[in-house]
Amino acid sequence: MSRSWAYASNYLVYSAMAVYAISFIAHAVETAWAVKVPADKSSTLDYKRTEKVARIATAMMILGFFLLFGGVIARGISAGRVPWGNMYEFSITGALAFSGAYLLALRKFDLRWLGLLVSISVLLTIGTAITVLYVPSAPLVPALKSEWLVIHVSTAIISGGVFLLSNVIAAAYLYLDRMESKGERTQWAKRLPDLETLDLLSYRLVAFVFPLWTFSVIAGAIWAESAWGRYWGWDPKETWAFITWVAYAAYLHARVTIGWRGRRAAWLCLFAGSTFLFNYIYVNIWGTGKHTYSGL
């Protein structure tokens, strides 16, 4: 029973990967095709030419999301618990949260220009998860058996997905800012939003998710109190969660109170996001402490 769910999960994750690959190719074609408008004919791009393939790309992204969603759920059923017990599971859920955050944001803003980056990130994450991080489905060790696992880890994963999305946008800001300072944007970059929009979007994502991250850290502290006998112990993971919190708090202060915008704000945003990534990669794989459940 549980084994067939585990197999089903693997098939779903593999299929999701294939579909994300199609989405990636479609995004790539869309981006490339838009460039190929002869410069002498018109200075603006012909969006209609790429509309169809852009739709395919987004549709595949949505399909991939649902397949991956199914894969994550099946993994949970096979193990008889929430699917966040090791790094393979964090990674596929993280990829799911990341593409979910993109699709949700897509409903409000035209972010399709980001699709190429999103699909390649998701592809790489799932790919690494399958090839390097995979461990067979198994029940949890006693310390993880708590309802706080659901609360703490789900909020941490969602926060991570949104932080990374905000980072990608901040990076796009810096890239385009450099391009503009040298002259005009190149043809393909003209369809990307203006700098002000990117700046604001990146900030809003952080402002939206910062309370959730705060909640996730506090939920972790409450759980640590009941599992380990202390709510805060400067475990490496806790320390880096704190550093990420402090970095984003500094970012919000810099923006709201001091009025940082643009380049400086984007760099600070990237710095804060990199502390989150460092925590995820370094502490899970090479770190010591009580948070090492990666199974690696």
Binding site: F208, I218, T239, T288
Partner: protein
Amino acid sequence: MSQQTQIPELDSVGLLRYAWRQLTSMRTALILLLMVGVAAIPGSLFPQRTQNPLQVSQYFKDLPDVARWMDRFYLFDVYGSPWFSAIYILLFISLIGCVLPRTFEHFKAARALPPTTPKNLSRLEHHQSWSAQGNELELARKWFKAKRFRVLEVDGSISAEKGFTRETGNLFFHLALILILLGISFSSLFGMRGEAIVNVGERFVNTPTSYDTLNYGKLFKDSNIPSFMLTVDKFVAQYNVETSAPEDYTLDVSLLRDGSTTIEKKTIKVNSPMTIGTTRVYLQANGYAPVVTVRDSKGDVAFQGPVTFLPQDANLRSIGAIKVPDADPQIGFLGSFLPTYVREGANGGASAFPKALNPRLLLSVWSGDLGLDSGIPQSVYRIDTTNMKQIGLKGLKPGESYVYEGGSITFEGYVQWVNLNFVADPGKHLALLGGIVAILGLLASLFTRRRRIWIRVGDDVEVAGLAKNAAPGLEIEIQGFVKMLKGEK
């Protein structure tokens, strides 16, 4: 800053005031905030005494010179170090200096009326005007009231303001951080944390001497330790048959409180500690203690009882030492306890499963001087064999004995032990309250917008608005307001 050249001219009060203003400035606060983040990094890269004393001593063994220098900079005690404390104390002083004046200001502002309507509304954002019908002021009054704006009405114009929750939330958030810090300080002054290894079947009496390690705050007194007694009745560990990974630990204890005569049966699990008054008891680790009897050459018992062994791997291969200092010459045993014994070439044996399915005790027997009188503290799990020689080597099943030159040892069986943590953390509720208030404050401050809307009705109706921090959404709100005034749906 250019004013810095003025410093020498200031008297001491002026200098203090200048320093205070610098410390409480937003820029300083931001730098301190980032510094706290950066200062926390070394603690995650180097082992810390509070979490991993063994790794720290390993550092001192491997790189004594480097370690001594690192220790001078408190790199093994980062979070208790003077420099880390200095940064966060400065940060909190800066925070208090920033937040307190703002709280008073906000308190005043929240009770004050909004400023009167500006003369020239057309200069402001989102300005609109159209010819008046006559009832606009009435409608506007109702609308502002329904939306809970604070209003000031002066001859034909209304000035309305909303969104004070933003600053309220902001201040509550920062005050909550101070609350968390107070909670932490309270715990470190009045809290206590002790560890004890208790064998299954044995009793633990809660007195300072019963603990293997005991740390408590500066203002915690021995008499604050609540008196109770608990007996460890039963410990059950379940493991995954395929992976040997633990799946469940359940510990049954009998508790006898001070002044009570009834014994309470309690269960402790990893995620559900037992609470006795202000003390909580956590199940943190477990292992095996082989029970042995050592006899001298005459057959008299020289040592008898369980000896705590330390688990070394996932299958609970455990190591330990049995010391018999009363024998002449002194006798010591270095042992490995293998709960599920399987043959393995180099080590002679390994454990294949954490449960005691086929227990085996592998011993090497040493004779000579245990070095217990040298004054150097020794690990109870190891023997200093420098002045000893090995006189025997044997693997024993339960019930078997081994006779060596000068005596014998019998492997009677084993008991399980549990490592219990006893924690009193009186400030944690304060810290939790701080955490909850912080989140609520954060939500209020990030998701409310402070804005003003003005309306003046003469021959024409004029409407304009202003949002603090250029917060979005005002335009839509004003559009709705205007539609309502015009009677459109």
